[in-house]
Amino acid sequence: MRPGAFSIGAPISMTTKSLHLRIGIAAILGAAFLAAVAIPNYVSSPSNVGNIILSPVFWPYVLAGLTGIVGFGLVLTAVFSDLTVFDPRDEIAIPVGHAPWLRLAALAVIMGLVMVGLPRLGMVWTCMLAFVACAFLFRTRHPIAALVCAVVVPLLLYAFFAHVAGVAIPQGNFVRLP
């Protein structure tokens, strides 16, 4: 099977049981992290708060506790169930090969570059480049139309937001638009 092809019916999907197990463990770990690390270190509470219920840390602790309980519930449903039902949606969604993972990584890089480019190149130019990169990442069958849209769409949006809505669109350090 070629890389990136999609396998239907291959035994590579998650069962609902393993899905619950994964989510449940993640929730328990998340709750433990919140209770042990995040809340004590990143939630400030004035020292003169006499009543714990009114303290700024009370609500996050309650939520962390409930998250742990729900995670525990998910693990319990996974452990005490003998069901290993494969969900057909997973079988369709999980591909064979590396290409989809590489495209996901490339999209993450594009998003990172957008964040870097916005204050330096300006929003219009960054968006033009992001448009082209995404269109080719998605394997467009209309490359010329993609290039035209990559120029026109950011310019039209700039015209609306900068001149109609009065938003100060970042212009960047190189080419400035009217």
Binding site: T16, K17, L19, R22, I23, L34, A38, Y42, V43, S44, S45, P46, I53, L54, P56, W59, P60, L63, A64, L66, T67, V70, T77, A78, S81, L83, V85, A93, P100, R103, L104, A106, L107, V114, M115, L118, P119, M123, A130, F131, V132, C134, A135, F138, T140, R141, A145, A146, C149, V153, P154, L157, F161, V164, A165, G166, V167, A168, I169, P170
Partner: protein, 496 residues
């Protein structure tokens, strides 16, 4: 203010070409957005939201309501023509709509979908006008304990019915509540999870979170599988819906509208369950029940009436209580907030002109939907031909501009991207995003009402059950948890 005064104030606000033009534009955008598989009504409303910032509040909200209503109907077009629901609410329409299209009766099915949608929309709007004011005047008696119990009930039902599993829904809601704690503490003003960054002190921007959750995951999904959207469009065929078809299905349309109104007015249930319930009731009572699933026009009418009956009714809890009924109204609440309006019982006193202006606009929207829908049915081929691999990059660019425009802050764009990946992970793990977003919106309100209650009572928790209203909501909450848990245990397969 008397009813006539309120109506006059509403007319004064919307009695201009601009307001109706915005409503019309909204319907056009909504129908197109709903008709493009993968775009959905929710994404269409989310992407339109940034364009409303510079508008007068009533025009912006009418634009969004138009997108909402148009999107719900628009979803039925690809459901019938390419067997792919444009919105989840149109899933039931496939059952009989697509078999009709296969028989060459797509035009007839779409015509019936349009008439059923418009009828249900009108019934739903009427229910909104009749009940919202009454509920708002009742809600004026609510204090912090009552609001706490109400919000808790809403979150419970949203978590329970949004996805396939109560536990996954609850986890999603808890994550939303946790995210809402970021920022300065409501009472003491101390930092919570801000990590010393001034951008985090006001909390995460609501619009960045919602666009991140509902638009960016679709773009990421496109990177995962760029060819998932390809499908074959059926022709409209020559047969058209007749008056006899409409009259024959009228009972199912009316029943579906009522089901939509009832389920829509309960926060969290939304249009898809309403469409399926309406469909199954129509099948149960119809004399053509054997034809259901094989291309029965009454089935199309029932499911479309069910999902459009929700559209006006979801605004009842939004306007009267300030609690969004579904994800789309959660986005619309953002438009209210951006314009400095707080939906809820006080809005019926302080901004009665906007309330009645919306009512008038909504009544007109049913007529506009008929016009826009008739054109859209014929023009669907052009919409279906929009290359999705060009559309998604355009959506990305639109998201970047729209989110930046809220606060002129690049940090918000980063929040949107981060939430996009969170939303994608949730999608992959079948954790519903709706409870997350609604909990994120209602989180500060829930905590605020809890702490106010504790301040009122000197930290005595019994205040949370202080009277019949709180008893009522607590009972509903327990019934909801019990009913969902019981139905989960009974199903057994798939697991919860």
């Amino acid at each position: 203010m008397s009813l006539m005064d309120s109506l006059a104030a509403g007319f004064a606000l919307v009695g201009n070409v601009e307001a109706f033009f915005m409503l019309f534009c909204g319907l056009v955008i909504g129908v197109i957005g709903g008709a493009i598989p993968g775009l959905s009504a929710t994404m269409a409303v989310a992407l339109t939201l940034p364009f409303t910032f510079s508008m007068a509040p009533i025009n912006g909200i009418l634009l969004l309501l138009g997108v909402y209503k148009g999107g719900i109907f628009g979803g039925s077009i690809p459901a019938i023509l390419i067997k792919t629901p444009g919105t989840p609410a149109s899933s039931a329409t496939i059952l009989d709509g697509y078999p009709m299209a296969e028989r060459g009766e797509a035009g007839r099915a779409l015509g019936m979908a349009l008439y059923a949608s418009c009828t249900a929309d009108a019934v739903s709007n009427l229910a909104l006008i009749l009940f919202a004011g009454w509920l708002a005047s009742f809600a004026l008696n609510f204090g912090p304990p009552e609001f706490f119990a109400l919000i808790l009930f809403s979150l419970t039902i949203i978590a329970g019915v949004s996805g396939e599993s109560l536990l996954r829904g609850a986890l999603s809601a808890l994550a939303g509540l946790l995210l809402a704690t970021i920022g300065l503490d409501l009472v003491y003003g101390t930092n919570r999870f801000t990590f010393g960054d001034p951008n985090m002190m006001g909390g995460l921007n609501f619009i960045a979170v919602l666009i991140g959750l509902f638009a960016i995951p679709e773009i990421i999904a496109m990177a995962w599988n760029p060819v998932a959207h390809l499908g074959k469009t059926r022709a409209l065929g020559k047969s058209k819906v007749t008056l006899a078809d409409y009259i024959g299905s009228f009972k199912s349309i009316l029943r579906g509208s009522m089901i939509g109104v009832f389920l829509g007015s309960i926060p969290g249930i939304g249009a898809a369950p309403s469409a399926f319930l309406s469909y199954s009731e129509a099948r149960r009572t119809s004399k053509n029940k054997d034809n259901f699933g094989k291309g029965e026009i009454e089935g199309v009418a029932a499911s479309e009436a069910g999902n459009n009956g929700v559209a006006g009714a979801t605004l009842i809890p939004l306007l009267a209580l300030g609690v969004p009924g579904d994800v789309i109204t959660a986005i619309i609440i953002g438009a209210f907030m951006v314009h400095g309006l707080q939906p809820g019982p006080m809005m019926f006193i302080l901004n009665v002109d906007i309330i009645y202006g919306l009512f008038i606009g909504l009544i007109v929207s049913s007529v506009f939907l008929l016009i826009v829908g008739s054109v859209a049915i014929r023009g669907f081929r052009f919409v279906a031909d929009v290359p999705k691999r060009l559309l998604m990059p355009a959506v990305l660019v639109l998201c970047i501009y729209g989110v930046f425009a809220v606060n002129n802050n690049i940090f918000d764009v980063g929040v949107m991207f981060a939430m996009g990946w969170v939303g994608y992970l949730m999608m992959r793990h079948r954790i519903p995003a709706a409870p997350f977003l609604i909990a994120f919106i209602l989180g500060p309100l829930l905590e605020d009402n809890f702490r106010q209650s504790m301040l009122m009572s000197g930290s005595d928790p019994s205040i949370l059950m202080r009277g019949p209203i709180t008893w009522f909501f607590w009972t509903l909450t327990f019934i909801t948890v019990f009913a969902i848990t019981r139905s989960t245990l009974r199903k057994r397969v798939p697991l919860s």
